[in-house]
């Protein structure tokens, strides 16, 4: 009990000293063998660099339906020098299930997939549903300015209302604007999908 209290005290002191924005994140890369599994640090880039995150769920049909579009956006992000991550904000799925999902939906080789089991990154960014996209400009100290938070595109207008194809590519537009120094359109459209629990 005393040990637990001591750990809690140390944690509180650490958080107070670092501030939420620079607290280390507990994330790991999906799909790597356990022996070489690396911690991921998507917020550790250089000052001014751009990072795109798409929060996904292996169980959410809407998130899954958008995977081909998300892969295509990730490819363009790479060409523009924007780091791109897919983030599972889920506590329960096994690493094997997430790795199988990445294989199934052809994410390998296109997108770094992260498991945010503590949901710390998810909460810091403010994501509440999957799929939901965020575009961040890093401050070089582990913090960021959030430039965009909203839907990936308008493939789904609502649950059960799917278009033949997206007619509005909101994340892509935001990435292009940010990387070209233009203002990002507002209001930023809300994401439609499965709630992050």
């Amino acid at each position: 009990m005393r040990g637990l209290l001591l750990h809690a005290f140390i944690l509180l002191v650490t958080l107070a000293a670092c501030g939420c924005a620079s607290a280390p994140l507990s994330l790991h890369v999906v799909g790597e063998p356990a022996a070489t599994k690396a911690d991921a640090h998507p917020l550790d880039g250089a000052r001014g660099s751009l990072v795109a995150l798409v929060f996904i769920s292996h169980e959410c049909p809407i998130a899954n339906a958008m995977m081909p579009e998300i892969v295509a956006i990730a490819d363009e992000a790479k060409a523009r020098g924007i780091a791109f991550y897919a983030v599972h904000p889920a506590r329960w799925p096994t690493d094997d299930a997430l790795a199988a999902h990445a294989r199934d939906f052809a994410l390998e080789g296109h997108i770094a997939v992260l498991a945010d089991r503590s949901q710390e990154l998810t909460h810091r960014v403010g994501a509440t549903v999957t799929p939901e996209a965020a575009l961040l400009r890093l401050d070089g100290r582990g913090g960021f300015e959030r430039l965009y938070l909203g839907r990936v595109n308008d493939l789904y207008a609502a649950i059960g209302r799917r278009r033949a194809g997206a007619t509005s590519n909101d994340l892509l537009d935001a990435m292009r604007a940010a990387s070209e120094g233009r203002a990002i359109a507002s209001p930023q459209p809300k994401a439609v999908g499965c709630f992050i629990e």
Binding site: E59, C60, P61, N64, A65, M66, M67, P68, E69, W92, D104, F105, A106, A157, A158, I159, G160, R161, R162, R163, A164, G165, T167, S168, C194, F195, E197
Partner: protein, 399 residues
């Protein structure tokens, strides 16, 4: 002493009430949600355990609260023609309270039900070859041919294994008999099926019933049957990509008719001909069919795509108009064959009138083009074919 005993009693009573509420929530969930969201159900989201329900509770609460779930897009008529799948206000309150509390124990009684729909492969009517649906794009129509070994009299049809991986992209299926094998010439590619609707000559797809995610089992009212000949069964499917390439293989099974189910059901098609939906306009078309003899209507199937937004089916004669079906907010994802709770007599000389509302403006949430384009008759995702299929029995056969 007394206050302590009272406190224990109060806590115990509270637990009992919570448990009773929980049991009630589990019962509501099992009756209204689990048939589709079970382990091998037709819904894309599996909610077959307390843990899965609780971790999707916000989504479930939102959809139950706004009436999206359980899906029931046809309004029940005043005299209860269509089964109303919507929750009673009491059941809705019970479910929302348990979901809001987020206590897994409230749904402890919900158990995986993998075996509910399990069946032997030999019982299924299935095409020989599957088709691979691409990972992305809009809804796709594809018709498969499956052999039916011998003539049978059936009460209905059901998806053999709606939760199977090869069934997941399928949103709807429409069946028709092709006893002479006239469509086989179309089914000659390397993959199973062909990109066309499943009408067999003048017989519309749906003449032997239809299935959907919302209604994975289709049953005629008691007393009625389909007489299914031996030969090919055309299974027209409408599917939506899952985000990954997916093997599609529709498998169905007949529901046997009872000895009293003797009135054969036929189909009449009321198609929208030469459909043209101008860009940036909403339009309503009226389709009619004049009954030449007395018939008993048992079910109606409304077929449409992204542009169809509403449907109203009436029966009119010189003196009156009777509403058979109202679908004020048509969504293909939640469409189903509407089976009437009792057959509706349409007398000779009456007219069946179907009014279909279309929206080809930017306000249509499923509008596939930006800006909207003129749309002509054709297969989805960019064309629109609309048809009303009426399933009926000759009144002369009534008892």
């Amino acid at each position: 002493m007394f206050p302590r005993a009272a406190a224990i009693l109060a806590v115990t009573a509270g637990a009992c009430i919570a448990r009773a509420d929980g049991d009630a929530a589990a019962r509501v969930f099992t009756r209204h949600c689990l048939p589709c969201h079970g382990t091998n159900g037709s819904a894309p989201l599996v909610l077959d355990s307390a843990e899965r329900i609780v971790r999707n509770r916000k989504l479930a609460s939102m959809l139950v609260e706004d009436g999206t779930m359980p899906p029931s897009i046809a309004l029940p008529s005043a005299d209860g023609l269509v089964v109303d799948r919507r929750l009673s206000s009491e059941d809705r309150a019970t479910l929302l309270a348990a979901l809001g509390a987020g206590a897994a124990h409230a749904f402890d009684a919900v158990k995986p039900n993998a075996d509910d729909r399990a069946m032997r492969a030999s019982d299924a009517i299935a095409p020989a070859r599957a088709w691979t649906m691409p990972a992305s794009g809009g809804a796709r129509v594809r018709t498969f041919l499956a052999p039916n070994a011998s003539a049978v009299r059936v009460r209905g049809v059901r998806a053999a294994d709606p939760g199977a991986r090869a069934q997941l992209p399928i949103r709807m299926m429409f069946l028709a008999a092709d006893p002479r094998g006239t469509m086989r010439v179309l089914d000659a590619g390397d993959e199973g099926g062909f990109e066309a609707m499943g009408n067999v000559g003048l017989v519309p797809s749906g003449a032997l019933g239809a299935l959907s995610i919302v209604r994975p089992s289709f049953e005629l009212p008691p007393g009625f049957c389909f007489e299914v000949p031996a030969g090919d069964i055309a299974i027209e499917t409408i599917g939506e990509p899952l985000g990954r390439a997916a093997r599609v293989l529709p498998r169905v099974a007949w529901i046997a008719a009872g000895s009293d189910d003797t009135r054969p059901v036929h189909a009449l098609a009321i198609p929208a001909k030469s459909l043209l939906l101008r860009a940036d306009t909403c339009s309503t078309i009226e389709l009619t069919h004049a009954a030449r003899a007395d018939i008993d209507v048992v079910a109606v199937i409304v077929k449409g795509g992204a542009f169809l937004r509403s449907a109203e089916i009436d029966v009119r004669n010189d003196t009156a108009s009777t509403r058979l079906l109202t679908v004020p907010d048509y969504r293909m994802a939640f469409a189903e064959p509407w089976v009437f709770t009792r057959a509706q007599r349409v007398t000779a000389g009456s007219t069946i009138v179907a009014r279909l509302g279309f929206d080809n403006t930017a306000d249509n949430p499923q509008q596939p083009s930006r800006p909207p384009q003129d749309v002509e008759g054709g297969l989805p995702p960019l064309g629109e074919d609309a048809m009303v299929v009426v399933l009926y029995a000759d009144a002369a056969n009534s008892r």
